[in-house]
């Protein structure tokens, strides 16, 4: 990985707009500006169309012979299938309200990263084939035909959009660039173009259940180790039920939390919380991935990966599904799951109900899936948890709303409610960077890969700047989030833009504060670092006592 410029250099080095008209500018595939291509074998295994070897930096991308026909037909098919696409192609007035709402544009100052121009890349093709003026006047009215450079350009910018939908909030017609990007990525897949960092996890999720391709026995082993760690910290070893039938709840969370620091602490938080509640639940190794990398490729792949959730709930006889902290997982669950794979299996209950408080989650009546922060907020409201927020006194935290739960679900207050109950020091970032206006971590939708680190730091600039602001002004040293991709992408972002800020999931902080029945005196947080407010001599006595 190339050495990163300093934040100030990075901001200063954003180039001016090119002199030429955007139709005449071609993207430069320099190292660091693109993600590595998907492997041919992976694409074959997944039955993706036209798998082939290619290199984004090469002149020739080895497109299939009739690539133009494939793309034209695929575009026509998408127009027939999605009213949104026809509409978004037709009604944009180019008012420019979306321009500076995009984190990629703010960080790169590349005009084609303005959502309006990102969409124009496709709209220009649409104009030639589907509008009278475009057919007659061509380039004069911003219409153009397909050529190989256009394909390259679509690839370049479809993978510089994280489908965060911030622009759709500000658009007076609600034009959703995520929809356009998703469809452009579908089109590119028709001619065999995809990226490794998405397709490899798709393959793994498909065949082994989780994105790193950890096999069932190893998966169980890792979770057991995390349970051991919980025991070291609390003196209580939480149970770890797997693939068991007859439990009320199936719990599904992104598998990243099983493998990667700091997600593992969030996972330990779940284990401890469920143990404390004596929750009647099970994990599944088969449906061990909540995240849906398919949603970064095609609608059908998203459906395919998502189908395992209901299938497993039915096999195990679960009454409802509890979902862990994740971003795009919840976009899929909240807006697509029932449509893709519903209705939910008949074994599930009419309305998911909390066995602890009796609260009916009527908002999840159709999908039967409840978000863990909805579940925990309800527990806290009903005083079902014994919490000692002073254990989190060593942190002054802020909260990062993930794009998908914010703008594709409206999950804004629940995590804050939980966070305020488990932390005494909570500070919001500036108002235009949170809640429904939240900025992306800069690497969502499958872009959190190492080879584009500088680009990620650029697209993460708005978030980084906001974090730096509360760090300098209020001494914030921690950022909580409810997304597994955030837990992977925000640590390097914080390290770059606001060094010294740590990142964690919400349930790590919950478990830090959770006073469990029969636990030993806690001297460590979940990361096995010293807790504040613990007298050193007491610690020693404790250690000696053991």
């Amino acid at each position: 990985m190339a050495k990163l410029p300093t934040p100030q250099e990075l901001v200063a080095s954003r180039p001016d707009f090119p002199e030429q008209d955007w139709l005449d500018v071609k993207p430069q595939f320099t190292p660091g500006s693109y993600c590595y291509p998907a492997k041919k074998e992976t694409m074959e295994l997944l039955h993706m169309p036209n798998p082939h070897d290619w290199d984004p930096a090469a002149e020739d991308w080895n497109l299939p012979e009739d690539w133009e026909k494939i793309l034209c037909d695929a575009f026509a098919e998408r127009l027939e299938k999605h009213r949104s696409l026809k509409l978004f192609m037709d009604i944009c007035v180019r008012c420019g309200a979306c321009a500076d709402k995009c984190h990629f544009f703010l960080g790169t100052n590349d005009p084609k990263n303005m959502p309006v121009l990102r969409a124009e890349l496709l709209r220009s093709l649409y104009r030639r084939d589907y509008t009278m003026l475009g057919k007659i006047l061509g380039k004069k009215v911003g219409a153009r035909g397909w050529d190989k450079d256009v394909v390259k350009e679509l690839f370049y910018y479809a993978y510089q959009c994280t489908e965060c939908r911030r622009c759709s909030l500000f658009c007076p017609y609600g034009i959703d660039t995520a929809e356009i990007t998703a469809i452009v990525r579908e089109l590119l897949h028709e001619v065999g173009l995809g990226i490794h960092w998405i397709m490899d996890p798709v393959k793994n999720c498909s065949f082994t259940g989780n994105h790193l391709g950890i096999q069932p026995h190893s998966f169980v082993e890792i979770v057991e180790m995390l349970a051991d760690d919980c025991e070291t910290i609390t003196g209580i070893r939480p149970k770890t039920p797997f693939n068991e039938k007859g439990h009320e709840i199936l719990f599904i969370t992104p598998s990243g939390d099983v493998f990667a620091d700091p997600g593992i602490y969030t996972f330990m938080g779940y284990l401890m919380l469920f143990h404390e509640l004596d929750l009647d639940y099970t994990f599944s190794t088969y449906a061990s991935e909540g995240g849906n990398f398919g949603s970064f490729t095609t609608f059908n792949m998203a459906k395919k990966l998502n189908a395992k959730m209901y299938a497993e709930a039915e096999r195990l006889g679960a009454k409802w599904i509890l979902g862990g902290e994740c971003g795009h997982m919840w976009r899929v669950i909240n807006q697509y799951m029932a449509t893709y794979n519903g209705p939910a299996p008949s074994c599930m209950m009419d309305v998911p109900t909390s066995p602890i408080t009796g609260t009916k989650f009527t908002n999840a009546a159709a999908t039967k899936m409840v978000h863990i922060t909805e579940f925990t907020a309800d527990l806290i409201k009903h005083n079902k948890l014994n919490l000692d927020p002073s254990r989190n006194d060593h942190i002054i935290t802020t909260f990062h709303d993930s794009c998908n739960p914010a703008r594709g679900m409206g999950l804004l207050e629940e995590p804050r409610y939980v966070l305020k109950a488990v932390c005494n020091n909570f500070v919001e970032m500036p108002e235009n960077t949170i809640r429904e206006q939240t900025f992306c971590c800069g690497a969502g939708s499958g872009l959190n890969t190492e080879e584009i680190m500088e680009l990620r730091m650029r697209s993460g600039m708005p978030r980084g700047n906001a974090l730096r602001y509360v760090q300098e002004k209020y001494g914030v040293n921690h950022m909580a989030c409810v997304c597994a991709i955030d837990r992977a992408t925000l640590p390097p972002l914080a390290n770059y833009w606001a060094p010294g800020v740590t990142v964690s999931g919400l349930h790590e902080l919950v478990a830090n504060a959770l006073v469990m029945k029969g636990e030993c005196k806690r001297t460590m947080d979940l990361r096995q670092e010293d807790l504040p407010n613990v007298e050193p001599d007491e610690t020693e006595t404790q250690v000696e006592g053991q």
Partner: protein, 339 residues
């Protein structure tokens, strides 16, 4: 930009010349009929074209807190779950341009005291919202005012609007505020495109043309009322003739009137084939017109493909021995599967 201006100017010049050489029937009768017909047919055709594609997924943009737990207050305006809520959201969007009201302007600074480094600051930016509203509402009022030419007797509502519009009682004929403000709003929208670098970069002739066309319409309209005054009574007789499909002679009406009428006709002709269709499109927008209750009520996709996925049975077949060793419950024990 200048090409668009030129096109509008040429259209105006042709209309002027045409009516001067006695082609008033063409520009005053034939073209308006064709334009009005094309407008209605075209708008309906485009709406049918959209409606022919299904809405496979419910993808509302949630602009606020979802409805979940009793003690958490739902943002009913921006994250509605009921039909009434959606109607309210659409009403706010269509009538008050609510999304545009959110507009901000981001300023990326290389160095800021507080951050001790780079910082992006967001300023409220309501100018686009103000001038868009101004443009659309003035246009609407001017449009309604023009019904005095299409009705006999004139509806009292229109007379009332005219009274309000001319309330300042300036000049003779009385100055109508809507006309003046409409021109100001259009000039603002044009100046934005011309002087803002980002806007200039994304603007196409498709954006300048309707602006110049509208400026031409408003400009000629203002001239006809205050400067090159036309004989209103005669114009009314002429237009009533059109309305009753019994066109009368246009002799004696000044040429500028035909320029005005021709530009309006061109606008109507252009409308269904252009971005101006956002007027109808906003009602179709799936990020705004669907309720945010997607976990509560299942949305059906008419082309939902059949489920094809890697089943548990296939998975267990692949990992059975390892799963057995790890003590995981199985559907078929290894011995049994081997049989």
């Amino acid at each position: 930009m200048f090409a668009s201006l030129l096109v509008v100017a040429i259209i105006g010049a042709i209309a002027w010349a045409g009516s001067a050489v006695g082609l008033g029937v063409l520009f005053g009768v034939v073209l308006p009929y064709v334009a009005v017909a094309a407008f209605f047919v075209g708008v309906i055709w485009r709406m049918v074209y959209w409606a022919k594609s299904p809405v496979p997924f419910a993808i509302p943009t949630t602009g606020g807190q979802e409805r979940s737990l009793d003690f958490i207050k739902q943002a009913k305006w921006d994250c509605p779950t009921t039909t009434f809520g959606v109607v309210r959201r659409m009403f706010l969007e269509v009538v008050f341009f609510r999304s545009l009201f959110r507009n901000t302007c981001a300023d990326v600074r290389e160095f800021d005291e507080v951050n001790n480094g780079p910082r992006t600051i967001y300023f409220s930016s309501k100018w686009l919202w103000v001038f868009s509203l101004l443009f659309h509402y003035c246009f609407l009022l001017v449009f309604i005012r023009h019904f005095r030419f299409f009705m006999d007797p004139v509806c009292p509502v229109i007379t009332w609007i005219e009274t309000i519009d001319g309330i300042m009682q300036v000049g003779a004929p009385r100055f109508f505020w809507t006309g003046g403000l409409l021109l100001c709003a259009l000039l603002f929208l044009l100046a934005r495109r011309a002087f803002n670098q980002r806007l200039r970069y994304i603007s196409l002739p498709n954006d300048y043309f309707p602006l110049f066309l509208l400026i031409g319409i408003v400009g000629t309209g203002i001239c006809l009322r205050y400067f090159d005054k036309t004989d209103i009574a005669q114009v009314k007789v002429f237009i009533m003739g059109l309305v009753h499909f019994a066109p009368v002679s246009a002799d004696g009406i000044n040429a500028l009137f035909f320029v005005h009428l021709t530009l309006v006709s061109v606008l109507l002709l252009y409308f269904p084939f252009s971005k101006l269709m956002h007027m109808a499109g906003i009602f179709f927008s799936p990020t705004r017109n669907l309720p945010c209750n997607t976990r509560e009520v299942r949305h059906v996709n008419p082309w939902n493909p059949p489920k094809q996925f890697y089943t548990y049975a296939e998975y267990e077949d692949a990992f059975r021995d390892a799963m057995a060793d790890a003590g995981l419950p199985l559907e078929k024990q290894p011995e049994k599967a081997a049989e």
